[in-house]
Symmetry: D2
Subunit: 398 residues, 4 copies
Amino acid sequence: MTERIVLAYSGGLDTSVAIGWIAEETGAEIVAVAVDLGQGGEDMDTIRKRAIDCGAVEAVVADARDEFADGYCLPALQANALYMDRYPLVSALSRPVIVKHLAEAAKYHGASTVSHGCTGKGNDQVRFEVGIGALAPDLKVIAPVRDYAWTREKAIVWAEERNLPIDVTKKSPYSIDQNVWGRAVETGFLEDIWNAPIEDVYSYTANPAEPRDADEVVITFDKGVPVAIDGETVTVLQAIQILNSRAGGQGVGRLDMVEDRLVGIKSREVYEAPGAIALITAHQELENVTVERDLARFKRQVEQRWTELVYDGLWFSPLKDALDTFIAKSQEHVSGDIRMTLHAGKAVVTGRRSEQSLYDFNLATYDEGDSFDQSLAKGFVQLWGLPSKIAAKRAQQH
Amino acid sequence: MTERIVLAYSGGLDTSVAIGWIAEETGAEIVAVAVDLGQGGEDMDTIRKRAIDCGAVEAVVADARDEFADGYCLPALQANALYMDRYPLVSALSRPVIVKHLAEAAKYHGASTVSHGCTGKGNDQVRFEVGIGALAPDLKVIAPVRDYAWTREKAIVWAEERNLPIDVTKKSPYSIDQNVWGRAVETGFLEDIWNAPIEDVYSYTANPAEPRDADEVVITFDKGVPVAIDGETVTVLQAIQILNSRAGGQGVGRLDMVEDRLVGIKSREVYEAPGAIALITAHQELENVTVERDLARFKRQVEQRWTELVYDGLWFSPLKDALDTFIAKSQEHVSGDIRMTLHAGKAVVTGRRSEQSLYDFNLATYDEGDSFDQSLAKGFVQLWGLPSKIAAKRAQQH
Amino acid sequence: MTERIVLAYSGGLDTSVAIGWIAEETGAEIVAVAVDLGQGGEDMDTIRKRAIDCGAVEAVVADARDEFADGYCLPALQANALYMDRYPLVSALSRPVIVKHLAEAAKYHGASTVSHGCTGKGNDQVRFEVGIGALAPDLKVIAPVRDYAWTREKAIVWAEERNLPIDVTKKSPYSIDQNVWGRAVETGFLEDIWNAPIEDVYSYTANPAEPRDADEVVITFDKGVPVAIDGETVTVLQAIQILNSRAGGQGVGRLDMVEDRLVGIKSREVYEAPGAIALITAHQELENVTVERDLARFKRQVEQRWTELVYDGLWFSPLKDALDTFIAKSQEHVSGDIRMTLHAGKAVVTGRRSEQSLYDFNLATYDEGDSFDQSLAKGFVQLWGLPSKIAAKRAQQH
Amino acid sequence: MTERIVLAYSGGLDTSVAIGWIAEETGAEIVAVAVDLGQGGEDMDTIRKRAIDCGAVEAVVADARDEFADGYCLPALQANALYMDRYPLVSALSRPVIVKHLAEAAKYHGASTVSHGCTGKGNDQVRFEVGIGALAPDLKVIAPVRDYAWTREKAIVWAEERNLPIDVTKKSPYSIDQNVWGRAVETGFLEDIWNAPIEDVYSYTANPAEPRDADEVVITFDKGVPVAIDGETVTVLQAIQILNSRAGGQGVGRLDMVEDRLVGIKSREVYEAPGAIALITAHQELENVTVERDLARFKRQVEQRWTELVYDGLWFSPLKDALDTFIAKSQEHVSGDIRMTLHAGKAVVTGRRSEQSLYDFNLATYDEGDSFDQSLAKGFVQLWGLPSKIAAKRAQQH
């Protein structure tokens, strides 16, 4: 029986060419797998058909948009996941769900190997291969771009020679990865980190500098899950989509940063993630209102570690699983409404209300009705500062 | 010899009245100490004169603006200090420098006691008293508002009865604390956390929603210290002042949040800190370019702990001192230029350049000149994921 | 209806006297509550009778030994809880379970107040009162020793005057708190921290210096729970009791340290915890075998925070609850056998075996059968060290 | 000019053979470098002569014992460095100092390459190569065992064929790495982790089970540095040597554990480190007495990270340098005497005294002279528990 290889397929030039090239190199049959994560562009049927036309024996397309939103974007939202305090893990979240579909397809179609189109200097190879290792440790991996120095130029020649049904003429200067959680853009002129992005690199967001009216939105959370927008019930996917549109329309969520890759180098990255940034901003403030202080302080450490793990390709790992239980527990009271103004590139919280609020007007107010017993404070202050005071006395003596 | 008490004096109604009241209650002589931290308002001579007129035996005013900028704001900038990822510690930074001046005045004037006007439900009482305990552990503390339930209403009556030279009629609805690093505003209607701030609460920042031209600025850092703006050499104080003006003019640095106080309650706080936010944003990105990954990751934990300590009143503490050495070491390569656009409430980095950059174009580029050896990646990925893979195999067997 | 006060009752002089004293001071009826946590000594019936004889209207005694072992000692074991890397939280674990019984008794008997005998300079007052605040926030607290300067001397006079059925003559030089998880001893001569403990302070442990034969034991864990000793099924309580006897018989578990109390002072403490130390030692090594590296590394931070929280009286707190979920998740594969030698004050692991082991002989061996692909290592090493190398190159240039 | 390669030379079979083999394979001249870290065994002159006899063009031997003790063991002591709470980093500390001598020799002798004898599944290859990358990023590395599958069997044949001056007949079943800080032993039968070590594997420590008299020692530290033993001034090296002898004579410092290697596998390791364990035990308790609580708590996290970094081969790294400054600062008051009893495998602290002590008898005592103001405690307890209490009230309402 002929060996089979499952290929992560995007429909683009590189992976279309890879179908034939890998088949030729290995003698194996290629099963192409494309996963819809809300990246837009061509419809999945067109992509499936192209895979077959390029020589795949099977082509699987999966609408994983809700799966991605519920199982990957939502945990990131609850972790307020911002790598280096900025980047909401757009690509890093998508790789594990693709890996899951690859592993399932490999099992279903009896494949021994999976293949991806990542280079050897990025994070995505790690996310693919470590994920495969965790979900299907017996599968082998082929990475033509990395392991066989396969380039775009070679791909064009290959496609032309074999007359593959791909338009090789339209060349974008941008290398783009996008899904419903956001969009990442790399391009040559941004590799000079003194250069500013130009308006042309953006697609999910309008220019924040253009004058327009502000947009006010109320987001309702139930136990850390966004469940309604302006009172209308939504799925997580819908919440992200609606805010991509509304926050994106106000220019919210553009990011431009130098980033530490797992493979040891720094790179310059430009992102857009209007829905993600709006949701995380709202969620953080609702946590400020509903999560107890010590829990909130420790959760920041958990969030950082969770984010680093996911960035570093360890979505499927024992530590990630254990951190998930912590985060899940922390969400049990994160319910209520956040009102935000979306305008000129910013999502600004202007109001919060919650039946689970730990904000106690009577304890906080300086007006009448104050129920805080100030006489307790003196003792608190004295003992709180006692270790420092004892240390200070010692320092004076020496 | 008559006992002396050093009073932290602002020139306002409450502390003006306190001069006479404490003197009467205790029989002690009052030494008023006012410290200029760039809060603006009345000049220091006027304040000094009022203290004397209200009955102080001595009135000390100190221009501590450079001391505050260099010794308190700068360490906060290098720590990227944002409490709860938001608040740049405006009041929390000012208390230790005031405490230092109080302790020095107490020593110079032979006082046995210091007095402050803080309430018993806020953080500032802790910062004052823990600071005094650390700098002058033998000093006693009197806090009339907290310990004797002294109120504004009582103060007005007292001032009128004694005909003190204070205007008791102009009553602001706002309780304000401000210095060069920022401004904090509390007011009754904001104690309902669903209410949005109104434009009237702001003073350091223009309305970000009003259309105006963007402002581009280049900030130069040397070892973590801002040393030039648009090529003009500046002191730290000048850097903050210039950016307060320019970033403030674009509406940058408004904050509205629910915050965890040390005394165990949540409160609603509105802040403005245009210079602080602009500087921290620039500094963070320059660190992204110049600080090695593992150091940057651990520094985030150090930053959080540093910020909590300072918020919690432990500026003068052994842990703070030790964290300072870590942060100082981390800054030795944080030199270079950051170009930012200030506009519509946002400070956005658009370019960075540094002779200390760890960003290596040749390692990062996808174009020609790439010096990254991709053949190394396969082994890295395999061993990086090995623990997860072994754990996954175990999970499959059980 | 007469007010009722629930008193944490030990049967000793202080709390026996407190029954009458509090009743007299407050006019309330006293409900005495004694909880058996395996502390040994008098039987619970005797204690109940004495409470009644001293004037209690009700006396409740509860055998909470299994509840304590399963609900308090076991989580501490799974957290490898050693405060300051030494102290297994003997008293800190017992307070929350006592508090739970006090709160239940208060509810059942309609009491408005609880009372405890702790001083104002120890940790236990915090554990009692914070626990009460969390379980029954409306209950008031009376602490006669702390709030009314009630002393042992006053207690003796009081008892003699009223002819209470307590032997006031036998005076131990030791202040002791003990339960099945261990024993804490304080005494005057140990307050000089240069003094060594004498053999007389110990009760749970034999002198480790005396020659005797070693004892070998095999402890079986199932998901982090000790379930068998030398193949005999045990409850958690039995596991602790058996190891108290066997490890205690070899002098295991003596501790002598200077400790940081929550109230801001350092104190000298001597403990014995043979069962706890033997179990934690075994559990740690089984985790070394069965828990993945990154999870193990982060768990150490979680363990430290968990331990500090419990030491600091925050057993009933949102952060503790969330850390518990993390720890519970981490235990799912901690199953297997640990063989230990108990001898001369040490519990030494000599063997481990587990069907959940992540130790893979074929990957680890240097003999034949080695399945580790050494060719992967070169790439790993290069990329692992790349950030340091880039930083080193920079340092050379400047 | 002929290329030169610097070889890390031990004098043993493998590296003796490597001299000729590398020369033959590469055509380069070999410079052998042997570093004395207190490992004992043959004298350095014998080793140098053998290198020449085996074909080295130069043979450098360095007495780095004090350098190792002062620059590597001492920082580990101040970090209380115990990987996985057990292993005092014996080999991990030695690699960086060897790397330093290799890099210096490479520079001095104009070599382009260094070579080491490590396998591809251990940690030491990482420590060597990452260290070389940080100290001399332009040097190349050859690892014959890893990269050319060079085995002991091949080495014996090679040595016999060329009649090299090495005794190939005596074959130890143990693979040993040792230096003054400790000794690591691996051997086939211990790869079965259920097997206990036998007495024969130990060399630095006597059998702790044999009866003998206890040994009492007083160690004096000055700012974290051991400066005297029983009143006699010592260097750090002497302190370690004396305690290796005295603590080793009592069987102190044996370790047997399953350990997480950086390369992703678990391995079984047996160590002896009597001096290291005795010194760390003493140092930890002196820190308990002299280091303020918050600093001590955070230092535990720093210690863990420092230890992981050094274990993971990142001695020469920016984060390690920054953590060093924190640790150095933390030691400024760690001065005083620790009295210990060494006996039956344990080093037990029995007394501590320090002019820098933060233990305050008057605050701690329950006898007369108590200066602790217990009236402060009530307020402290109330506010300390307030966040939990507010959260508990919320939980009751829902």
